[in-house]
Symmetry: C2
Subunit: 282 residues, 2 copies
């Protein structure tokens, strides 16, 4: 499959990669709106029409960049998951991760305002891991604002292929799910409330993905995942400009409370007798 079948095939993959790299460069520099096929071709020393041998249209190129961006944010999340204490085998091996292009996200490590726990320091700080994963996603978004906008901002091309991007888009979510699953298995989750109207949907999702979690937690995870990107989008898209300065702190507090929303408990409170409430309500 991956063996080299000839010089021509080899050249093709190289040129394809070069086009994507240059496109990614322009995307990071100027944003998706300014990405121009002609400029990419110009930079690569070829004529614009030749580029259509590799990508049938501009939107097709953008779609590939979208998939790569999803992979990058998923990779950043999984990396933070692995660094925050190996409580369980990190992520399921499925969903074909396109190993080639996912390496790009390797540079993202600094997750500001978060103190990761040691690899083997007694009881696992599940809330800490949760916060670390959220912070990793945020750090990636702030480091790659245009790529973030490409996937979590307005859908740029006429509502691009949704089905193709579902799998890579879920990688990040599964990192948070892993944290919750580990906490649940360790008995560290008090399932939140779940309305009767929402319960069937939550149970369907739990079964559909074979999650080892109560449906209450699954529903809360879904909402938390969406709300996380509200916080990140406001920061990346400048809604906090001239308004909020202590963004690290706001994000840290908000993600901690999101962890409480899915039923996870802080470490300190857990030890104080049988109080299972998040610190806010003690």
């Amino acid at each position: 499959m991956t063996t080299i079948r000839g010089a021509r095939e080899r050249a093709r993959t190289e040129v394809t990669a070069a086009i994507k790299d240059e496109a990614r460069r322009q995307l990071a520099a100027e944003g998706a709106a300014k990405l121009s096929l002609r400029a990419v071709a110009r930079e690569l020393g070829m004529v614009s029409s030749a580029l259509y041998r590799y990508f049938p249209s501009r939107d097709e190129l953008l779609t590939e960049l979208i998939v790569d961006a999803y992979d990058a944010v998923g990779s950043a999340a999984e990396q933070a998951l692995a660094a925050g204490g190996p409580a369980s085998s990190a992520t399921r091996a499925g969903s074909a991760t396109r190993a080639g292009s996912a390496t790009r996200a390797g540079a993202v490590t600094s997750a500001g305002a978060v103190t990761p726990v040691g690899p083997a320091s007694g009881p696992v700080d599940h809330v800490g891991r949760w916060i670390a994963v959220c912070a990793a996603v945020r750090a990636w978004a702030l480091a790659h604002p245009h790529e973030y906008a490409l996937i979590y901002g307005s859908p740029v091309p006429g509502y691009s292929a949704p089905l193709l991007t579902v799998a890579p888009a879920s990688r990040g979510a599964f990192a948070l799910i892993s944290v919750a699953r580990d906490a649940h298995r360790a008995g560290g989750i008090t399932p939140p409330a779940l309305s009767d109207e929402l319960r069937p949907e939550a149970e369907r999702l739990t079964a559909q993905f074979g999650l080892d979690l109560p449906p209450e937690v699954v529903a809360a995870l879904l909402a938390s995942w969406a709300q996380l990107f509200g916080l990140i989008s406001f920061e990346v898209f400048g809604q906090f400009n001239h308004l909020v300065e202590a963004r690290d702190e706001l994000f840290a507090q908000a993600t901690r409370r999101l962890a409480h929303e899915v039923g996870m408990r802080d470490l300190g409170v857990e030890e104080a007798g049988r109080a299972v409430l998040p610190r806010e309500y003690v």
Copy 2:
């Protein structure tokens, strides 16, 4: 000021309004990316260069549409606020609401999956008002996806004027603040926790805007406001496609919990003795 100074001036305002209306039509139909000055001019029976007598550039036109969109969502929120029980004089009269263009949002009323309380039914259901305001914003977003994307999606022109849009952008937020303020004045808020790192910022914001609220609530409001748009954006931008069906229910539950996050209590629980905890933790 608003008197007619001559036929020429009258014609100018009319043409300007016609341009904006047509631009808004194209924006709603095709999205900001497809909005073309030439197409607007064509539709209005004029040549493209003539349009530059009214708007110096395409970005300038877009900026006006952005301001209008902020006003529309703010108006929708305030309308839901007024409909959900007049607990206090709805919103401060400041921030020059551009009355002319804000009328457009008058059609937005249906806020699915929410049962507004009667105008004078004993104790005010603050959480219900909160949910109603959130639902109104969501309903507007779903009804005007492209205009929503314009203001809460990726910033399209080279990071458009942020200072000019700050005032109209805050109208919606102030609607939620009003709900919290009313609840606070009625003694219906238990301030959540606030980390020491975030407290100075929260106190600064409280003072800056002269809010009659504890800083704990202000910090939680800020985070909740951002998280609300995470939920809405996921739905409008299609992140829930092929994944979540019961979106009304998910949104209702999530916004109810956001209300709890800022310290508001459900009506039923309040009556049951001295339990001040949200229903989830009882």
